[in-house]
Symmetry: C2
Subunit: 215 residues, 2 copies
DNA sequence: ACTTGTATTAAACAATTGTTTGAAATTATA
DNA sequence: TATAATTTCAAACAATTGTTTAATACAAGT
């Protein structure tokens, strides 16, 4: 019998699962669709992963593992760089990861799906993938906020930056409809990243110098 | 026979449908769940709305109708107000609409669901509910951007503002987990709206005075 | 070669779901 | 009131889906 793929069955299922779950979400995904694409029998999912939910959990973990390998953030972690530069790198890296239409986009699609419509895998995702990123961003913007020590203000600034980036993922359909030129190609996306960086640095430094009344 | 509700069957179904579709999304919603909550027979959905999808479409339209009645934007439309004030009103109105946990939250949940995971009802939603809002916001920030006429820059600023607001809707689960105090009560939300307003006005005016190189 | 443990498969199962049906109940109309 | 139209209902239908089963194929170890 002809094997269309020499990759082990488990790996094939996992890869395809990431693809399909990202595309359709957990509920809209059928194990038969996964198995067809992976060229394996329907029973394989239950044989190797106990259940559809088991596969989903493992697919998420697998996606994180891959993403961390493929998208290192070494330069961002370099604390000797100016905070403005680090923020610029962070946003550019984040935005490109979000907009990647090929492989990495699936990973972020899986995450944003979980965020917008949580299953019971959410807690794990927050701890594993999200909290560290947010902690990093917080560390980056801390010096930009200067003397401001109010945690609440810092957290709202965090959300301002993340929201500007995530807009391009979760509201992609809107942008495609109304302003497709903003994300037409890699350069356009880079310009968006620069915009978000500029927008945020201006606001952060200004807030640092004239804090409004405490909340 | 005891009628638990004097509201006409059609209206009961529509109201409940908004509720359930917002909570579970189109696919995860069963017509039986809707009919149980509305205390009507399962066949009623097909009798009155042809199909589940027909009900979904009409529920969306109905939700828009309601929302427009309940959340008027009169003051925002007042062009004699200072643009800063109008932007402040817009953001406050928008954020409260998004965070409303009772009735209006369902309406925005329905929309953000469609945005994040479009069905073929999306086109209609964009034209009916989204584009007008974006046009209004664009009109508001135009004077803040002063001499800048580059549409691209204006559009990116639009997305920056919207992204900051929408963050609280689509990433609600994250905020609940990590920074619940930011959205603990109405006052906290109001402070978030003020933050977004401040953050955005600072950036907009600064960008207006020192535009970066054209994209 | 034989045995044992693992993989793979087609088929069936049980539950769910959107939809249809045809009769009964209700309301409107003449 | 009698007739017609509409609404409501329980039941059934057909398709889909996650999961299980039991037989078969394969591989490894002795």
């Amino acid at each position: 019998m002809l094997k269309t793929n020499i990759e082990p069955v488990i790996d094939r299922i996992l890869h395809v699962a990431i693809e399909v779950f990202a595309e359709y979400g957990f509920r809209d995904t059928t194990v038969r669709e996964i198995c067809n694409r992976a060229n394996v029998n329907v029973a394989s999912v239950n044989y190797y992963f106990r259940s559809k939910e088991g596969l989903y959990t493992q697919a998420l973990a697998f996606a994180f593992h891959e993403a961390n390998q493929l998208y290192p953030q070494d330069s961002i972690l370099n604390k000797t760089l100016a905070p403005e530069k680090r923020l610029s790198l962070f946003i550019d890296n984040f935005l490109h990861k979000l907009m990647d239409d090929s492989h990495l986009g699936l990973h972020s699609k899986l995450i944003t799906r979980e965020i917008a419509d949580p299953t019971n895998a959410l807690n794990g995702i927050i701890a594993t993938a999200i909290a560290p990123q947010i902690a990093l961003l917080k560390e980056i913007i801390q010096p930009l906020l200067g003397t401001i020590t109010d945690e609440t203000i810092a957290h709202r600034c965090l959300l301002s930056i993340l929201g500007q980036c995530l807009m391009f993922k979760h509201s992609r359909s809107i942008i495609d409809h109304l302003y497709p030129e903003l994300i037409a190609d890699d350069l356009a996306i880079k310009n968006c990243a620069e915009h978000i960086t500029q927008f945020s640095i201006i606001a952060l430094t200004q807030i640092a110098h004239q804090p409004k009344k405490t909340s």
